[in-house]
């Protein structure tokens, strides 16, 4: 196994610089949960759904009424919350926590219904397909469906009251740069639509997105080259584009426990041929394979530290490592991640 450039093959103990890279600065969890709308974005496979679900659990734990929205509607977010696939209507997962999934057809219908008082029709599919094509070419409409729905939920009030239905809305964005088009949609629409009905809504949606007290983005990355580069580039484009605030970057699957000199000494002694037989007998098996485990741990720790440094050099907001959780999928993992997040974010 090759070691990455600049890191020695067998460092006896991580340097102070590496330890500092892992520790880093903190962000108050409470601050994050005070927002109204949090977009969770990142490359596919960076654990976006798990992070969204974990933040949702933490929000509900803090006494907020939380809505978690899955933009991709692949069922990942619902699964991470231990729920069967949700629908377009919010589905209650636990006390104070609901989940919903956006789908183009239904979103389109509801959008027309809410904003243009167009009655719901049964056979809208051909129309939706034409819309789909146009929406591909014209910046805005399709993303407006997504953002429009989110903004609608943000504005919703309890029946007969002025208090909002949701305190916190978490959005599990589609993979890759789609969050940009969602967030940029309002701005793009403003340049296209100069008057009329839609202008008014688009204006307040744009205001919501640009308001850093109400709306923020959480970036997700992994300690691997491409996810890190993409997170940095995405942040840059968001900064230049929609002007939305980014509160924190979460480095998922981080290996944060260093291999120390004491661990190495013990390992060397364990596999010393002089004692090998008696040690193996006492432990019930040869400890030789354990050396590979220690090697891998050290390598992953170094990798984590390297990418944390890179992210912290390039991103102005706190970058928080979320430890790798070797667990089953679903709610068990989400709970463990939520605990880790709450520890790390303080």
């Amino acid at each position: 196994m090759s070691s990455p450039a600049g890191t020695p093959q067998r460092s006896w103990s991580p340097s102070t610089a590496v330890r500092r890279a892992i520790a880093g600065e903190r962000i108050e969890l409470a601050t994050l949960l005070e927002r109204r709308v949090v977009f969770v974005a990142g490359k596919g496979g960076t654990g976006r759904s798990t992070m969204t679900a974990a933040l949702a659990l933490l929000g509900a734990r803090a006494g907020k009424r939380v809505l978690a929205i899955d933009v991709e509607a692949k069922g990942d977010l619902a699964a991470a919350l231990g729920s069967p696939p949700a629908g377009f209507a919010p589905r209650v997962v636990q006390h104070d926590l609901s989940v919903l999934e956006l789908r183009t057809d239904e979103s389109f219908q509801e959008y027309l219904n809410i904003y243009f008082k167009v009655p719901r029709v049964t056979r809208l599919t051909p129309l939706a397909r034409v819309f789909d094509f146009i929406a591909t070419g014209v910046p805005g409409p399709r993303d407006m469906l997504v953002v429009g729905k989110i903004a609608y939920e943000e504005r919703r009030k309890e029946a007969g009251s002025r208090s909002p239905v949701w305190d916190l809305i978490l959005v599990d964005c589609a993979a890759g740069g789609q969050v940009e088009s969602h967030l940029g949609a309002a701005k793009a629409m403003l340049t296209l639509v100069r008057g009329g009905l839609i202008r008014v809504q688009v204006e307040w949606i744009d205001a919501l997105i640009r308001d850093s007290r109400r709306t923020t983005v959480v970036l997700c990355a992994l300690p691997e080259e491409m996810p890190v580069i993409e997170a940095i580039e995405l942040h840059e484009r968001l900064r230049m584009g929609s002007g939305v605030a980014v509160d924190v970057c979460l480095l998922n699957r981080a290996v944060v426990e260093p291999v120390t000199a004491a661990h190495r000494h013990l390992m060397t002694a364990l596999i010393d041929p002089e004692h090998a037989e008696v040690v193996a007998q006492h432990l019930g098996g040869s400890p030789l394979p354990l050396d590979a485990g220690l090697e891998l741990q050290a390598h992953l720790y170094d990798t984590t530290a390297r990418y944390l440094r890179q992210l912290r050099n390039k991103l102005p907001m706190p970058v928080v490592p979320v430890p790798l959780i070797v667990d089953r999928t679903g709610l068990t993992t989400t709970r463990a991640v939520a605990d880790a997040l709450s520890n790390r974010l303080g």
């Binding site: 990455p4 490359k43 243009f116 034409v130 100069r194 002694a269 364990l270 220690l294």
Partner: protein, 400 residues
């Protein structure tokens, strides 16, 4: 740690593994090798390594066609950068890195924008039509975000290169798409779109009142769209669609040729995946679809596999004792004449056991690949693909 050191191969898979060992040789007779899989599974690296393995196996002129400006790949190939013009990888440099290639190895990056522009120019009935499309503000947007557009451009470029006959074998690193199937369906999807009746409804053309010559079915939509977007936008869309339809015959003809090439015996698909749930499910689905479309799947490359040492039974027993036996630290201290903290012993055990859990999960995933039938499966050990130098890439090429 290498795959050989860790090399425990289950009995029933051993024959398959042996077969896969000569993947470069097996793929060498092909004219087109297409690497596909989810984003982030190491497709680009595997493509480059495959190209290298093929050029090493036989005296062929091999081109690796990559889709992203992977600076690291350029470094790994020992060249300054990869552009639209193919760059040759110096043989001497390869030899120094430990591999002798019989043939020639070149790399080029696919320029999507250029591929689209050239396609429009080629299929337009005249220069004016081409210019009108290229200048339409919607055009750039469509080529950027149209489902399958990158895939289509990649295939178009591949077809041209293949047709030119300059290379014996072209290895394609496919664009990272949300759905790997986009790549297979791109030709037919594009023709569907361009030829769709729904779009002809839209190409009625703008008038002072928005749209004339409206079909009954389109009328409510156009009224609505007018309200949603304003007439200007719709006029642009309409113009674009009208122009695009002039290209229909050309695009349809080419899409058919591309489909034929993909299905021919000169082409082979290599599916790249990791054992993570998402990419793995997609890879499996993709393999099934390839079969359905009668496109030849030649191998599955499983990347970032934990070495088998993490499933060693003796290791598990030793690790469990280190974690659970409260007296183990004291015993070790006495036996090894060493200061041993209980924490250190537990840490060593725990580190191994957590990887053991993952390794078992991976083994269960790997076993599922049996469902794919007689397909060579190549396993690449974890981190071997974190290559920053040519030597790393060579090592992977040799694994293949």
């Amino acid at each position: 740690m290498s795959a050989e050191q860790a090399g425990y191969v289950p009995e029933r898979r051993r024959s398959v593994r042996k077969e896969a060992a000569g993947l470069g040789r097996r793929l060498a007779p092909l004219e087109v090798v297409i690497c596909c899989g989810s984003g982030g599974v190491g497709k680009t690296t595997v493509s480059a390594a495959l190209g290298m393995a093929i050029a090493a196996a036989e005296d062929k002129r091999v081109l690796v066609l990559t889709v992203d400006p992977a600076r690291r790949l350029a470094t790994a190939l020992g060249i300054k950068g990869i552009g639209a013009e193919p760059v040759r990888i110096p043989k001497a440099r390869l030899r120094r890195a430990g591999i002798t290639i019989a043939g020639d190895l070149e790399a080029a990056m696919l320029d999507m924008k250029q591929a689209w522009d050239r396609m429009i120019e080629r299929y337009s009935p005249d220069r004016l039509t081409a210019q009108r499309i290229l200048r339409n503000p919607l055009y750039q947007r469509i080529t950027d975000s149209f489902v399958g557009s990158h895939e289509y451009a990649a295939m178009e470029a591949l077809y041209e290169l293949h047709d030119a006959g300059e290379y014996d074998c072209i290895v394609v690193d496919t664009p990272p798409s949300r759905n790997a199937l986009d790549f297979l369906e791109a030709p037919s999807r594009l023709t569907d779109y361009v030829g769709s009746r729904l779009l002809s409804l839209l190409s009625g053309g703008p008038s002072r009142f928005g749209f004339r010559a409206m079909n009954f079915a389109a009328a409510p939509f156009l009224r609505l769209a007018d309200r949603l977007l304003g007439a200007e936008v719709l006029a642009e869309v309409s113009d674009f669609v009208q122009q695009l339809q002039l290209l229909y015959d050309g695009i349809q003809g080419r899409a058919r040729s591309v489909s034929r090439l993909l299905r021919s015996s000169r082409t082979g698909f290599v599916v790249v995946t990791t054992l993570e749930q998402g990419p793995f499910d997609e890879a499996e689905f993709f393999c099934t679809k390839l079969r359905e479309f009668k496109m030849p799947l030649r191998a599955v490359v499983v990347n970032r596999v934990l070495p088998d040492v993490f499933r060693d039974a003796g290791g598990v027993a030793a690790a469990t004792t280190l974690v659970e036996d409260p007296k183990v630290a004291a015993w070790l201290a006495g036996e090894l004449h060493l200061r041993v903290s209980a924490d250190a012993a537990r840490f060593i055990g725990k580190t191994f056991l957590s990887r053991n859990t993952l390794a078992h999960r991976e083994a269960r995933q790997l076993a599922k690949l049996g469902r794919l039938g007689e397909v060579p499966i190549v396993r690449m050990p974890l981190f071997s693909e974190e290559v920053s130098e040519l030597e790393g890439l060579v090592r992977i090429a040799k694994t293949l």
